[in-house]
Symmetry: C2
Subunit: 195 residues, 2 copies
DNA sequence: TAAGTCATGTAAAAAGTTACATGATTCT
DNA sequence: AGAATCATGTAACTTTTTACATGACTTA
C-alpha cells in the first residue's frame, strides 16, 4: 500500500469521515500535506476495506444522497503505527518554479520578475493563513499542542513545517527579485501596487 | 508537453548531453530539482525530437557503446523561453515525513525520536554538500552568479533554494525532537553519538 | 570475481489527473 | 437562474516507478 493509504488512515485515526470529507481535508493542505482527488480516494477506501483496515456504515440523510462514513479498525491502527516509525523512502524533488528558475537566464527579465513577485505574493498569503491557524490552534488546544501523544501536537507540528516552508520560499523569492531588480530598470514598485 | 520536457530542455540549453548524462544530472538534485529515471528520459527525448525541439548526433566510441549526443534547437530554445514566464501550476504537496509526523501521536515515542533524528542527520549532510557547492560556485564563477542573464546565476539561485529548504527542514526536525525529548527519558545524546 | 560505470532501450505496473456521470439542496 | 455544496462513483489518460534486457570496460 502506498502513502495515500496511510494519509487516509491518518485522518480516520482522528475521526470517522466520508470519502467526500477526506477529499475536502486533503484539498486544505494543512492537516495532511498529501493531496489527492476524490477519484483516487474512493477506490483507495475500497482497497483499505478489503484489507480490513477500515469499515463503513451507510448513513441515510433527508434530501441528500446517502453517505458512507468510514472508520479505522484495530488492524488499521496497527498498520498505521507500524508505518510511522519506518524510515521514509527519499521522495523525488519536483518543483516547477525551481525548474523555471533554472532556465530563467534565457527569458525576458520583466517576465521573470513578475513570475517571482506573483509567486511570493501567493506564499505570503498562505503564510498569513497558516499563522492565523497557528494562533487559533494555540488558543483552542492549549497545552495539548506540546503533548506528543496528542493528535493536536501532530497537527501543530505539521503546521509549523508549513510555516517554515513558506518563510523559506518567501525569503528565496525576495532574493531572486532583488537580484533581478539590481540589473534592470525595474524596482519593487510593481509589488507594492498589486498588494 | 509536461515539466519533464522542460527539465530536459533546461539542461540541454547549457550543453549538449546524452540521455545517460541527463539521468545523471537529474539524480544529483542540484542543477535541476526535477528527478527522472532513464526509462522516462529516453522516450521523452524521442518525443522532443519528433517536435523538432532537440536533435542528436551519434558518436562512436572505442570499446564503449555508441552514444547519442542531444542538442537543443532554436525551436527548443523558443519553447523553453516561453514556458519560463508562464505562471506555474500549483503543484501538489506530497511529503512522506510530514505524513508520518501527522500520525506520530499513535506510535512509540522512541521510534519517532529515531525517525526524526535520522532525518535531521540526512538533511544536515545534504546542507553541508550544498554549502560546499556554493563556496565552489562563488569561487569558480565569481561575478557571474549575480548576473541574471548568466546560466550560472540560475544554477546559483536554485542552489540557494536548496540551502534554505534544508535549513528549514533541519530547524523543524530539531523542534520535533526537542518536543519529544521533553516528554520522555530520551535526550539528544543519541544524535551526538551517531554524528 | 564482483561491483561499478558507461550506454540505450522496452514493458508492466502503480500512482495521479482530468473528464464523464448523476442529482437534490441551498445560497447569491 | 446560476453557482456552490453535498455525495459517490467510473473511465480514459498521463506520469512515474520498477523490472527486464544487453554488453564491454574498469576498479577494488
Amino acid at each position: 500500500m502506498g502513502a495515500l493509504g496511510y494519509a487516509i488512515l491518518g485522518l480516520l485515526a482522528r475521526e470517522p469521515l466520508t470519502g467526500y470529507d477526506l477529499a475536502g481535508q486533503m484539498r486544505a493542505r494543512v492537516g495532511s500535506f498529501w493531496e489527492a482527488r476524490h477519484s483516487q480516494i474512493y477506490p483507495a477506501l475500497a482497497r483499505l476495506e478489503q484489507r480490513g483496515l477500515v469499515t463503513h456504515q451507510v448513513v441515510a440523510q433527508h434530501g441528500r444522497p446517502d453517505k458512507k462514513v468510514y472508520e479505522i479498525t484495530g488492524g488499521g491502527l496497527d498498520a498505521l503505527r507500524a508505518w510511522v516509525t519506518e524510515p521514509p523512502a527519499p521522495r523525488a524533488v519536483r518543483d516547477e518554479l525551481l525548474l523555471k528558475a533554472f532556465s530563467s537566464w534565457l527569458a525576458e527579465p520583466g517576465g521573470v520578475l513578475t513570475l517571482f513577485q506573483d509567486e511570493r505574493r501567493r506564499h505570503e498569503e498562505r503564510l498569513r493563513d497558516y499563522e492565523q491557524t497557528r494562533g487559533w490552534m494555540e488558543e483552542a488546544w492549549g497545552e495539548d499542542v506540546r503533548r506528543p501523544e496528542s493528535p493536536h501536537f501532530a497537527s501543530y507540528a505539521v503546521l509549523r513545517r508549513g510555516i517554515l516552508q513558506e518563510r523559506g520560499y518567501i525569503e528565496w523569492c525576495r532574493w531572486v527579485t532583488d537580484s533581478l531588480g539590481r540589473g534592470t530598470d525595474n524596482d519593487d514598485a510593481g509589488a507594492e501596487v498589486r498588494l
